[in-house]
Symmetry: C2
Subunit: 388 residues, 2 copies
C-alpha cells in the first residue's frame, strides 16, 4: 500500500497488529472488539488494559507563543508539536499526538481540552503565551482527571534547578545563601522563581523588561505574586542594577540584553545561565572569560546546554507510569535531582548530563513516579543541600 | 528504550525521522523547526507540505451507539476506534487518531470538534446515536473547513448501493422499477433511503419498529422527511405488511425480525440484505432457500458480506487526496460504483468484492477524488442503469 502513504511530516500511526486476512479483520475490528467494549463498559478501569489510552498524551497549543517566534497561530506551530511528538516516542516510548486548537478564549480552551482528555493519560500544554498559560494550567489542573504538564513552566524549572544545583556545587555556594537574579517574568521565569523558593532560595530578584519586580510597581496576577514573594530587599532599577553583586543570573528573556559591564559587576565565581533562544542573554565568550564563572546556555554547540529535552520525556513517562496526579514543586524537585545526580562529577564544563545519557529518562521517570508512591520524603521540604 | 514502551492497545505513534544524536535533535526539534514555523506562519498552505496534517483524521465518538451495544460511553468505545484506526492505516495509509469525547450536548460536540479540526484533514464521526448524529453531521458540515465522514450514514449507504447494483444486475431488475423495503430508520436506514432516491429508486418504504413510515404518523425530523419523500403508495402496517410483493429487503435493524412467511410473500427473485449485527434480520439458510434470491449479510462466514470496510478506507483516502469538501450523494454514488465495478462478473455468490481485493481502495479513492475534480459527470444525476 506504499503508493497510498503520504510521508509528509515527522510522525505517523503504526498499527501494532496485523490485518492480512478475514480472521485478522474480525479480531481487530468487529465483531472481535465487542468483548473488550462490553468489559470496558462495565468497568472503566479495564480501558487502560485493553487500549493504549494510558500511554497517550496530547501536545496542546493555541499557537500564541511558538518558540521565540511569538503568536504565529496553532497550525504554524505544528512542526514544533510534531518534533515534540518524535522526542516523546524516541526517548520515552510515549505516544504524543499534536493537538493545535483554534480557540483563544480560555473558557473554550479548558472546555475543549477537558472534552478530549478522556482519551489520553496526560495533557502536555505547549507554547501558550503568558499570562494566559498560568490560568489555563491552573484551571486544567482543577478540572481534568489526568495530569497536566506545561513544559514552558514545569520543564524549564526542572532543568534550571538541575543545572543550578550542580553549578553551585562547582563554585561551592549554597542555594539558601546566594543572590539570584532571574531575567524574564513569563511562564519560565515565574516557574523557576517558585521552584527555587520551594527549594530554599531566599534572595531572588525577578526582572521583566521594565526592571526588577517590587511592591512599589503596579502589578497584577503572577507578577504581583512574584513581587510579594521575592525581592525582600525592595530592589528597584533595571536588570543591570539587580545584577550588581549577584551570584546567579538565570536568563529566560531575550538575546544580548546583558552587557560585559553588568557581568563584571556580579559577585566572584558567578553562575551565568543565558537560556534565551536562539542566542543567550550575554556573549558566551565574554561570560566564559569571567574568572571562576560557570556558564550555561540553550545552545548545542557550547558546553552545558540547558535543554528541556533533559526533563520532559522522563517526567511525563513517570507521570503516566505512576500515575502522578499533579506536577507540583515536590515532583519537579525530584526530577531535577534525578537529572543533576546523573552527572557523576559536576565541573565547569559539565553541570548537566547529555540528552542521550543512557538511563537518564528511566531515572527521571522513576523519581517522578516515586512521588506518587510516597517515596518522595527524601526530597519533600528538605533544606537546600550544603555545598559539597 | 524497549523497557519504556507500553504495547497495550492496537496503535502507536511511529516517528518517520531518527533522533540518534545532537544534529538530529537540532533538526527535528529546535532550532531546526523554526524555519518551517516561520514559513507556515506566513502562508497557511505551507502547513500540509511540512507536516502530516493532510493525511490525518480524528475518529470521533461520544460513545452513544457503539456497535450494536448501544450507549456504553466514549471510553468503552476506544477498542472500536483503535480497530478503525488500524484499518485506516493498513488499508489506506491514513493516520487516524481515536478521539472519544466526554460531551453529549450537541453544541459542545460541535464546538470541540471544530476546535480540534484545524489539526487534521478530515473528521470521521463514528457510532453517534440517531437522531443526534443527523444534526451533528449537518452542523459540522456547515461549520468545519475540513470534510466530515459519518461511517454509519455514508459508509453504509455506499456499500448497500454497491451491493444492490450488482444484485439487481444478477436478478435482471431495474432500480427505478423495483419495490424496496428498508427495515430501520436510524442513521444507516435514512442515508440508504436518501442515496437510493438520488439514484432513481421510486418505490421505497422505510419501516421503523412501529412499521412503515407514512404521512399519517406523528413524526418529526429525519423520519418526517422520509415519510414525505418515500412510500408514495401510503402503505401502513408493520414490516411484514410492507414486504408483501416487494423486490428488495434492506435490513438495517435487528436480528431475526423477518420470518419465513414474510420472505415468502415477497416478489420472485428477491434481493435480501440482512445487515443487522451480529446476526441478520432473517435466517440466512431460509433466505438462501428462497428460489432466485440474492442474499447478503454482515457476516464474514457467509457469501456476500456487506461490510463498511469496503468503503471507508478508500472514500476517506479520496477525500484527503482531492480534497473533497463534502460527502454528498454524488460522492457516495461514485464510491459505490467503484466498489460494484470491482466485481468482474457479479453472481448470486459474489455481488461485492473482497475487502482485501487488490486495488479496491485505490479505485474507490480515485472515484471519490474525481468528484472534486469535476470528473463525476458520469455519475452525477445519471438514471439508474438498465439491467445488464
Amino acid at each position: 500500500m506504499a503508493t497510498l502513504t503520504h510521508p509528509t511530516g515527522k510522525i505517523e500511526i503504526a498499527p501494532t497488529v496485523e490485518v492480512r486476512d478475514h480472521d485478522d479483520l474480525a479480531r481487530v475490528y468487529t465483531p472481535g472488539v465487542a468483548d473488550q467494549v462490553e468489559r470496558a463498559a462495565a468497568d472503566d478501569s479495564v480501558v487502560p488494559r485493553v487500549t493504549g489510552v494510558g500511554n497517550r498524551i496530547f501536545v496542546v497549543t493555541d499557537g500564541s507563543a511558538i518558540l521565540g517566534l511569538g503568536d504565529v497561530g496553532p497550525r504554524a506551530g505544528l512542526p514544533v508539536m510534531e518534533g515534540k511528538s518524535v522526542l516523546f516516542k524516541r526517548l520515552a516510548g510515549i505516544d504524543a499526538w499534536p493537538l493545535p486548537l483554534r480557540s483563544r478564549d480560555i473558557d473554550d480552551l479548558v472546555r475543549t481540552i477537558s472534552d478530549v482528555s478522556i482519551g489520553v493519560g496526560a495533557i502536555n500544554v505547549e507554547d501558550v503565551a503568558a499570562p494566559r498559560c498560568f490560568e489555563l494550567v491552573r484551571r486544567l489542573e482543577e478540572e481534568l482527571d489526568v495530569p497536566v504538564f506545561h513544559d514552558d513552566q514545569h520543564g524549564t524549572a526542572i532543568v534550571v534547578l538541575a543545572g543550578l544545583r550542580n553549578a553551585l556545587d562547582v563554585v561551592g555556594k549554597d542555594l539558601s545563601e546566594v543572590s539570584v537574579v532571574i531575567s524574564g517574568a513569563g511562564a519560565a521565569g515565574s516557574a523557576v522563581a517558585r521552584l527555587l523558593l520551594h527549594e530554599g532560595a531566599r534572595r531572588i530578584v525577578v526582572c521583566d523588561s521594565e526592571g526588577a519586580l517590587h511592591g512599589g510597581r503596579d502589578l497584577d496576577g503572577e507578577k504581583a505574586w512574584l513581587a510579594e514573594h521575592t525581592n525582600r530587599g525592595g530592589l528597584t532599577g533595571d536588570l543591570s542594577d539587580s545584577l550588581q553583586g549577584a551570584d546567579v543570573l538565570i536568563g529566560l528573556s531575550a538575546p544580548g540584553i546583558v552587557d560585559e559591564a553588568a557581568l563584571r559587576s556580579m559577585n566572584d565565581d558567578p553562575v551565568l545561565f543565558g537560556l534565551a533562544n536562539p542566542d543567550p542573554e550575554f556573549d558566551p565568550e565574554v561570560a566564559g572569560g569571567r574568572e571562576g564563572a560557570v556558564v550555561a546556555t540553550g545552545r548545542s554547540d557550547l558546553p552545558n546546554q540547558i535543554n528541556n529535552v533533559l526533563a520532559f520525556p522522563g517526567v511525563v513517562r513517570g507521570m503516566l507510569d505512576a500515575p502522578v496526579r499533579r506536577v507540583d514543586n515536590v515532583v519537579m524537585a525530584a526530577a531535577a535531582h534525578a537529572i543533576a545526580s546523573s552527572v557523576e562529577t559536576p565541573s565547569r564544563e559539565e553541570i548537566v548530563p547529555d540528552v542521550f545519557d543512557d538511563g537518564l529518562v528511566s531515572r527521571v521517570a522513576a523519581a517522578v513516579a516515586g512521588c506518587a508512591h510516597g517515596l518522595s520524603d527524601l526530597t519533600r521540604d528538605r533544606p537546600a543541600p550544603p555545598a559539597r
